[in-house]
């Protein structure tokens, strides 16, 4: 502890991932040389993960308001109103770096962390999704990472008893050195029982609940955005270990306590553990906090103030209780066998004061920790491919059937049943659609059953087409939002709001920064037009190994609502249905083949411009679909995306082994199977199209 309270030097700051300027800024703002613990607190708060310093400037441009938004970005999770005095609470977060180092624990703690972000707002989590991206499948390391990540997600989600209802799994060699594990959770709360993290009332007790603190995950926050070099394994053992059993106890104990009036504010100890929770709670309430670190329950002995403040042990929460309610609260945590320790109090000094062994380990003004985190405006260059490929540019001796077979062998399109059968998708008894039944997963809203109806439902999807974003960041960003909205609508629900996970390479490179700025521009434009604002999210940068960045992957998690789950739509057509392609133009000229799966099969690369986005058509196709569904005219619906029209149609026919007689546009009737124009009709990836199945 003596060392932790020594004055820091520049090398310490550099070792903690801070730059020279950042170190000087800190010394200037607090007008003293910070000791090691104080510097550690700053390094966590100024990390990319907590401060979003390289992307904050652009994140502010995202639309975050709408009539149904109760709480936008800035809290642990986003909150939207879904009627009947109920609110949906949701967020997506990434655990990319820890999952590469230790796939099982990395992904398991990712699920645990995102669940805590939801129930800390007072919501019972009701569904889990995950968006995963791995390197090329023939690499032995990829096999090891896939099996570890899937087991970790299942291991945590199944044990804590929350259904994993969907997501996406893609493979591309750009993720060889940097896999992506984005976990999304959706919860349900009463509209008037939402809990926030802003501290209130000087003198109120600050309570630590949950598992004991250990040395795991120290520097997790700064590691989260650290670029991997060849020997990244020497960063061990900084990986946190998750305990889903304690997670379940913490979930039930917190929800039980939140039913009383004892809790004033609460925050999950996520990345940077006690540091981010105490600083954010105190600064949001524009108050102060003084903590006695000797009172923090620890599971390893002789832990220094530095280690306690930066530890990322899992399953821990920080709460501020109404004075006098500590006994009642403690009895609930005793029932669930969890630690409950009063470790300090709220003050009005505007400072964070920590004591250890009677010495003052930290005395910092709170304001610079949050307000003065640097906001960089890194140079960027948005590069977009403008070359429009015509069908005739692609020559092949493959027939349509040959191509279709290749498409369904593509790991990004083939069935992922071998993955999601390892997830419990039906626990809690509210799952209507999971894993591929429909374009969006659908979960009943428990307790809204009415006479003659099973009640409301929440539709959830995660979407992104990284190859489009690589070719044209703005169009790629727009397309991710539009595809998510189409998927929600194709399940019969109305798209409502977005949580996004922006996974990118190294922002210090102009083209990567251009990908970030471009896709945020695209997302903003589409999200505002479709009135699906961003209510929460996460940014993961420096996903790069040996100088090679991943494909730009801005994942869009979207939530929608349907009033009666019986009117929901699956993707499988039924016998004697008629299929209609909404949004497909009558007089067909050419299918968009640029940047498509089809082009990759023919040219072994994507080099054309991605399909253009017409926001007006996107909005119209969704409105028409929902109107038709309201009149109960539809049996099924499936959004046209990767692989084009024919791939989408096949996916609608598989379940009941159906066939389909297709009437081609007049100008294609006598084309042979090799004709590029006909093939562009089959496999072109034009947007704003949904196939509906109907008996009427």
């Amino acid at each position: 502890e003596y060392l932790a309270q020594q004055k820091s030097k520049l090398e310490d700051a550099l070792e903690m991932g801070l730059t020279k300027n950042e170190y000087n800024l800190i010394c200037e703002k607090i007008d003293k040389i910070p000791n090691i613990t104080e510097l550690g607190i700053f390094s966590a708060m100024f990390s990319e993960h907590c401060s979003y310093k390289s992307s904050k400037k652009w994140l502010k441009t995202l639309p975050t308001e709408a009539s149904h938004v109760i709480q936008g970005p800035g809290e642990n999770a986003g909150v939207i109103d879904i009627g009947e005095n109920l609110a949906a609470v949701f967020k997506i977060e990434s655990h990319n770096h820890p999952s590469f180092i230790e796939p099982y624990q990395g992904s398991a703690t990712g699920v645990g962390g995102i669940l805590r972000d939801v129930f800390t707002m007072g919501a019972r989590p009701i569904a889990l999704m995950n968006a995963l991206r791995f390197g090329s499948p023939d690499q032995p390391l990829t096999k090891h990472l896939v099996s570890g990540v899937v087991k970790g997600i299942g291991g945590y989600g199944n044990c804590i008893g929350i259904p994993t209802v969907g997501g996406e799994t893609n493979f591309d060699k750009s993720y060889d050195g940097n896999i992506l594990v984005n976990a999304m959770a959706v919860g349900l709360a009463k509209k008037d029982r939402i809990f926030y993290s802003a501290a209130t009332g000087a003198g109120n007790p600050v309570i630590y609940v949950g598992a004991k603190t250990g040395r795991d995950g120290i520097h997790g926050a700064t590691m989260a955005s650290a670029e991997f070099t060849e020997n990244s394994t020497e960063k061990r053992p900084t990986v946190q270990v998750g305990d889903p059993f304690t997670g379940k106890l913490l979930l039930e104990a917190c929800l039980e306590l939140m039913n009383t009036d004892a809790v004033l504010s609460i925050q999950d100890m996520g990345a940077a553990g006690l540091t981010s929770s105490s600083v954010e709670m105190a600064s949001k309430g524009s108050l102060g906090m003084s903590l006695n670190l000797d009172l923090v329950p620890t599971r390893e002995d002789k832990m220094t103030s530095y280690e306690i403040m930066l530890s990322e042990s899992q399953e821990r929460m920080l709460m501020i209780l109404k004075p006098g309610s500590e006994e009642k609260a403690k009895s609930i945590f005793d029932k669930w066998d969890l630690d409950f320790a009063n470790i300090g109090e709220v003050t009005n000094t505007g400072r964070l004061i920590l004591t250890k062994h009677g010495f003052e380990a930290c005395n910092l003004p709170l304001e610079p920790l949050v307000e003065d985190a640097p906001e960089y405006n890194k140079p960027f260059e948005i590069k977009a491919i403008k070359k429009v490929l015509k069908p005739s540019d692609l020559k092949t001796n493959l027939t349509i059937i040959d191509i279709l077979k290749i498409i369904f062998k593509n790991p990004n399109i083939a069935s992922k049943k071998w993955i999601w059968e390892q997830y419990d998708s039906s626990v809690m008894g509210d799952t209507i659609f999971a894993n591929g039944d429909s374009d969006a997963s659908l979960v009943k809203v428990h307790g809204t059953e009415k006479k003659g109806s099973f009640g409301k439902g929440l539709a959830i999807t995660t979407d992104c087409t990284p190859r489009y974003v690589k070719s044209d960041p703005i169009i790629g960003g727009m397309q991710a939002v539009c595809e998510a909205a189409r998927n929600i609508a194709s399940s019969g629900a109305k798209p409502l709001a977005i949580t996004n996970n922006l996974n990118f390479g190294n922002p210090d490179k102009k083209n990567v920064m251009g990908e970030i700025v471009g896709s945020i521009k695209g997302i903003s434009e589409a999200a505002s037009y479709l009135s699906t604002p961003i209510v929460s999210g996460n940014v993961s940068l420096y996903n790069e190994t040996n100088g090679k960045s991943i494909l730009p992957t801005p994942v869009i998690g979207m939530v929608g609502a349907i009033d009666e789950v019986e009117n929901s739509l699956k993707i499988s057509a039924e016998p004697d249905n008629v299929l209609i392609a909404l949004g497909q133009s009558e007089n067909f000229k050419a299918g968009w083949v640029g940047c498509s799966i089809y082009q990759e099969i023919i040219n072994k690369k994507y080099d054309g411009a991605p399909p253009p986005i017409n926001l007006e058509n996107e909005k119209k196709v969704i409105e028409i679909l929902l109107k038709l569904n309201e009149q109960k005219l539809l049996t099924a619906a499936h959004d046209i995306s990767d692989g084009g029209l024919l791939t989408t149609v096949c996916e609608m026919l598989f379940k009941y082994n159906l066939g389909l007689d297709i009437n081609l546009p007049s100008n294609l009737i006598n084309c042979d199977s090799y004709d590029p124009l006909l093939q562009s009709w089959c496999f072109g990836e034009d947007q704003a199209r949904i196939i509906i199945a109907t008996k009427h």
Binding site: D243, P244, F245, L249, E421, Q422, D424, M428, G429, V565
Partner: protein, 230 residues
Amino acid sequence: MRSGVVIFPGSNCDRDMIVAIRKITGKTPIKIWHKEYDIPNLDLIVIPGGFTFGDYLRCGALAARSPVITSIKNHISRGGAVLGVCNGFQILIEAKILPGSLIRNKKLLFTCRETTLEVQSCIENPFLSGLKIGECLKIPVAHNEGNYFAPEDLLKQLKEEGRIALKYIKQNDNEKNYNPNGSTEDIAGILSNNGKVLGMMPHPERAINNLQGGTDGLKFLTNCVEQIIG
């Protein structure tokens, strides 16, 4: 019918079972916390699915040492009926109320999917007597350690005493992996020697309406209620 659902730290299918029983009987079963010694007189106690105590050491091992197990044994000696589903079945085995053991699924993976069960001919019992022998029920499973293992002599005894209640069955000949976990002779559920205790891996409470995978679970549980009320 007076029924109760036992809740341990780590149970996560308790609410699903309560919803199913309330849908059938119109009455909400009481919640029994695992530390309760004395519980009121009940007709049926259900031990629901979940990951009690995190499945640590062995599934159900730590839960089987909770105080409530004594009150469950008293309930059985009074002639009461007990239904153990998934983790509940594992707890009944660890508490030595049902014989044999449940080990890891043969493919070593958690599996959550539809299965078809065939009602076996077995001794008088309040769970299956109302159903026809050979009748098939589509009920989902979701578990990691559902591979029921019985040594030779126990298997012989179970057959002779007609205590094998349910088996996984293939719907058509080319359905290869109809048995989700590789259990001995495709066993999915067994009865105690007096027929009053049934342990089964599949989750009937997850098949109680047409929107979510059929109503065979509802048929199974409704039959249990009718048999128990008698």
